[in-house]
């Protein structure tokens, strides 16, 4: 038996994989400050459902996979360690200047971000290495030791080191590491070339600073978790989810806690990709996850989950990058709690403000009175106020109506129901635009992609989003309400290793490339051995981060390591790059040489062999079929069938309008769509026989832009 627990802001999701591969899902409230209690509470719910005691349940587990927001929460609430940064003399303001850039150039009420490590804790080290790796100024150890004494006097709790060109010649950083061990033996530290070998000193500096600042805290947290789980009777192995969409031994996260920074959301595309692969032949997948306050989008491109080098701690340009490659997840402030409001010019806005869970939407019994998406959904009949969260929370329809009337209908001069439908439409459009941003950047055409909707609030507009984007197929998985935890069950043990080696296809250096690949393979094999994995099921992929000459941003190009070591390597790299560039940007340039900057190996040791992520049927409300009146913008009020997930037979096809309910979510099926429950237990929505509004207006233009 394997367990996966994802600790989110509101709920802790627990997915249990039985030995036959069937999944069960449970939720408990997250306990802020004591996340372990939320995890154990979820196990209590599970034990109850299985009719055994918790210790007996836990004792059957072989593996416990954990996703946690502990690291990111510590950063947001500024509870990280007191961290010092050591940099090359002459360059103390790397974390102040960052990489520049700004949003909303006329909005002067957004303050300039304060540096992640204060200037007062940033120290210059006399040394300089050139781009060629040549040492221009030797490391001045005596002044450095004086600085280390100062760090001790300041009671610094962690140290990050980022020197210019340490990725080309790490000698000075390594020596500083030795001196840190000697002079500050109890203080954890991070060396930039080891943690994050990339060019661009800010990205190495910020990643190192974040990593070092998390070390004391994450060591305590993982130690506590491991002890609590053992005390509660769990005998197995503890794995932690990473921002790279894989899992690693807890020890790896203690060594490099930045790995776990965005561990939960990175799992959604793993689950979405796995499910889409079973349901559809299309290879590109858009995955979204709608919660109470945020909407996350991620992708699978041609079977792989694309990475980004640009993950932000907060809003882009108003916060810091993590500087660390991670699964590309875009988040916006949109969820069930998003507040609808009309501005002075009479235009409707939905979000980004959210009512959260306290005070919550107007229809919640907690004293909130702002009109939210949840309120609009109650007005429209999409949410049954008597059956919200399986009836655990009673909602007040009159309060919802009052709020939508006051905040939306009256100011817009619309009737109540048209106003509520407008709230949903604007909310949908905000999400569509967020999806468009990430698909443009990753070169995915929604019209040829499958879209997978997860999260508790996804069902309200998943069909509308998919239709608006022109996606051929929408899947709302049986595990939708706990997509990240389900992804954890499907994920592999794995890590990425990266090295910098710059070479151009015009002056290709086969010896240097061979050396880098050999080093990376050694890293990968060491990792696989350390996890005790079977080499037969270990997969090693090589990607080159490359660009055309004169370009600034690299893209990932997958290459076969054996081919790239052959005689024809430069040509193979070029043609692979052209193909990748064409795929992402819609054009390529035969005349341009290709520059490789970094080489990355990803090692994946198979963690699971359950492909389908199928939820076991629950017996609650088994075959219930009801009817309810609901409102659609185009057609007005209609009485529609309400079906439970489990009431639908395999491949039974239902034409909209309808509502499909599960204990965790309800899915609104628009009048234009049809839905069926697949043999794998997922809802699959399509638009058979509907005219495609996204057809191309002019074939010549199609050619010019593709």
């Amino acid at each position: 038996m394997r367990f996966a627990a994802d600790t989110g802001g509101t709920f802790t999701d627990l997915v249990i994989e039985a030995d036959d591969g069937g999944l069960s899902m449970f939720k408990a409230s997250t306990v802020p400050g004591e996340p372990v209690r939320g995890v154990l509470a979820a196990f209590d719910v599970a034990a109850d459902a299985f009719g055994i005691d918790r210790r007996a349940l836990l004792s059957r587990g072989s593996t416990f996979i954990h996703g946690t927001t502990h690291a990111i929460n510590a950063i947001v609430t500024q509870r990280t360690a007191k961290t010092a940064l050591l940099v090359t003399r002459g360059h103390p303001d790397i974390l102040v200047l960052r990489e520049g850039g700004r949003l909303e150039p006329f909005n002067h009420s957004v303050p300039f971000p304060t540096p992640y490590v204060p200037r007062a804790l940033t120290f210059e080290v006399t040394e300089r290495v050139l781009a060629s790796g040549e040492v221009r100024t030797a490391l001045d150890e005596s002044t450095l030791v004086a600085t280390l004494d100062r760090l001790r006097a300041l009671q610094v709790e962690a140290v990050a080191v980022c020197l210019l060109w340490s990725v080309v010649n790490p000698a000075h950083e390594q020596r500083i590491g030795e001196l840190l061990v000697r002079h500050l033996p109890d203080v954890p530290f991070t060396l930039s070339h080891r943690l994050n070998p990339s060019i661009r000193e800010y990205r190495r500096a910020i990643a190192s600073a974040i990593d070092a600042s998390l070390k004391p805290l994450m060591t305590r947290y993982l130690g506590g978790l491991s002890a609590s789980m053992r005390d509660a009777g769990f005998p197995g192995r503890l794995l932690v989810l990473t921002s790279q969409g894989s899992m690693v031994e807890a020890e790896e996260v203690r060594q490099a806690p930045i790995l776990a920074l965005k561990s939960g959301p990175s799992m959604a595309p793993v689950a979405g990709g796995r499910i889409a692969a079973v349901e559809s032949p299309l290879r590109d997948v858009i995955v979204f996850d709608t919660g109470g306050t945020t909407f996350d989008v991620s992708l699978v491109r041609n079977g792989r989950v694309p990475y980004t080098q640009e993950t932000w701690l907060g809003r882009p340009y108003q916060s810091d990058l993590t500087g660390f490659p991670s699964v590309d997840v875009k988040s916006i402030g949109a969820g069930g709690g998003s507040i609808a409001w009309v501005d002075g010019g009479g235009m409707l806005h939905v979000g980004p403000q959210s009512a959260g869970s306290v005070p919550g939407p107007a229809c919640y019994p907690n004293g909130g009175n702002a009109a939210t998406v949840t309120d609009a959904s109650v007005v429209l009949g999409y949410i049954d106020p008597d059956y919200f969260l399986g009836g655990r929370l009673r909602l007040d329809r009159a309060s919802a109506q009052q709020a939508v009337q006051r905040d939306v209908a009256t100011p817009l001069g619309l009737d109540l129901h048209a106003a509520a439908a407008s709230v949903l439409s604007v909310w949908t459009e905000n999400m569509v635009q967020a999806i468009a941003d990430i698909t443009v950047n990753q070169g995915i055409d929604p019209a040829t992609a499958v879209i997978v909707g997860g999260g508790g609030a996804a069902g309200l507009n998943a069909v509308a989003i998919a239709h608006r984007l022109g996606c051929a197929t929408l899947i709302v998985p049986g595990v939708a309400a706990g997509l990240s935890a389900a992804g954890a069950i499907a994920s592999d043990i794995g890590r990425d290793f990266r090295r910098i080696f710059v070479t151009s296809t015009k002056r290709f250096d086969p010896v240097g490339v061979a050396r880098v690949i050999a080093e990376l393979r050694a890293d990968a094999h060491r990792f696989a051995e350390a996890t005790g994995s079977d080499t037969a099921t270990t997969r090693i992929d090589l990607a080159v981060e490359a660009r055309y000459t004169h370009q600034v941003w690299e893209i990932d190009v997958a290459v076969d390591p054996d081919q790239i070591l052959g005689l024809d390597a430069a040509r193979i790299l070029e043609s692979a790059f052209h193909r990748a560039h064409e795929q992402i940007f819609g054009f390529h340039d035969d005349a341009s040489a290709v520059e490789a900057i970094a080489w990355r190996i990803s090692v994946r040791c198979a963690g699971s062999d359950s492909p389908a992520l199928r939820l076991k049927p629950s017996d609650r409300d088994g075959a219930l079929r009801r009817k309810r009146r609901i409102y659609f913008a185009g057609t007005g009020w209609q009485t529609v069938p309400i079906l439970s997930f489990d009431a639908m037979g395999a491949n039974e096809r239902v034409r909209g309008p309808a509502i499909i309910e599960s204990p965790f979510t309800s899915v609104v099926i628009d009048p234009t769509a049809t839905v069926h429950r697949s043999t794998e237990g997922n809802l699959v929505v399509d638009w058979r026989g509907i005219v495609d509004p996204h057809r191309s207006p002019d074939p010549r233009l199609e050619q010019a832009t593709s």
Binding site: D93, P105, H108, A131, P697
Partner: protein, 601 residues
Amino acid sequence: MTDHTLNGAELAILINRLEGVARKMTNTLYRTGRSGVLNRARDFSCCLLTADCELLATADSLPIHVLSGPDLMAASMKEFHPALERGDAFLHNSPYHGNSHPADHGILIPVIDDDGRHRFTVLVKAHQADCGNALPTTYMGSAADVYAEGALIFPAVQVQREYRDIDDIIRLCEMRIRVPTQWRGDFLAMMGAARIGERELLAIGTEVGWDTLDAFSRQWLAYSEQRMVEQLRRVNKGRATGDSTHDPIPGTPPEGIRIQATVESFPDEGRIEIDLRDNPDALPCGLNLSEACARTAALISVFNSIGGDVPRNAGSFRRVDVKLREGSVAGIPRHPTSCSVATTNLADRVTNAVALALSRLGEGSGTAEFGAFLPPSSAVVSGIDPRTGETFVNQLFLGSTVGAGTPFGDAWVTYLCAGNGGMCFVDSIELDELYQPLLVHERRLLPDTEGAGRHRGAPSLLVEFGPVGCAVEIGYVSDGCTNAPRGARGGGTGSGADQLRRRRDGSTERLDPCAQVTLADGESVLSFCCGGGGYGDPRERHDEQVRQDFIDGWISRRRAREVYGVELDEHGEIVREATTRLRAAAPTTLHPKPIDHGDPS
């Protein structure tokens, strides 16, 4: 046409979709462009205009690029090419026909519906690494006229017909523009982005109906105008004049160029007038403004002053009347006046003059002066890379702070220049050393250089760099050495600019503010950019903030005492009594002490 009225939700959805189109164009161009100005400085913009040439929607772009100008460019396209066809595209960089300056190449594409009717125009505009000037720089400050400047000028010249390049134009550019493959790469990227805009608009038009889109455009502009009226009603009634002086460079009078702006606010009407007519005639140098830049620079101040959420389009612009004079240095240029540097130096002076005038209307209006621009840390560098033997030319963006204190808060530190709005990226030292044979010795913010104020201006940034294993040429037009950025409403002056050459023996010499300089191997340039002016009396700055400024190393204890009136002990703790006494007394000085740049020898 149906007289369709959209409700507030339909309005929200359509503007979101249209801004999405502009954003999609922006993302595409940003990711595919070749030159550093494009993908590091984000020196480009994408926008949508109505068939009547009214600016409708933009993505977040450099302010100087897209407020006024796109409208004039689209109008000249229509004037020169009355019969527009689907598949057409036009290259436009003429400052005499609405463009900002010749280094900004614009691609205009008319969006034509299935009935052959012109419905919208999309515009992609991007600063080129080179535009064929007589010298390897896109900022020819010393050019006496457009002939001396040397740029190829394209007044809405057709470059594509039926979606295919007109190769004559491409070849013409390739014969004149340095590193033509880089230009060609950027051209491809711009065309790709513009075509994506066209495709998306055609799809939306087909889906929602062109007449509905027309109705939307009218309503959206009316909505934006209404939002602007609300904001301008809050500006105090009155009339005030502000001025801002550009340092002298070759071709200007010895006292430099003093720009003057008179602002009159009519809150009852929700309207504002900005008069720029009382300014000198055009000068025989490259600093003269294009009409687009003169109008935009004035609008920037207004939008800086009123907060961030009024849409910037033809609707809101209707409430700001910018009066210009033909033949003025800050007005409407007559050919062959050179406008080579129109987007930065004098444009920023117009923004500053209007900002100070606005600030005189009352508390909460205007901003301090932004520091002046184009120090050597933003130079165009060129030479032959000894590592490859290849020619290179590119603009550096090693950093320029210059942010002004505003009514809303402290300055944004990495602003680049007033017209950039802080959108520019700051170069990575390592990337610059990899791309060019350069070594960046130092890059640091300097203490006590901020314009003091209740809201402080940005501190000055020092950057020292030089060539490695070869000589390099650097071109810059560094304003603000004489005329440092002044504060507003009692705020102090920020540090001015300066530039020195460090010779091989370590001695330094001061360099001209506007120059092409060759740095020999082993030499370096020290570039001091301007800080920014402060807003409000520094003695009104919260004493805890002053203390934090000291702890963070922005200011010294002495400056905390003398300028901010806050006495700090050796541990950085506030000495209350002394502070109360200091803050009650008259200010001693609001100006930074002169920076010790090392004695030029």
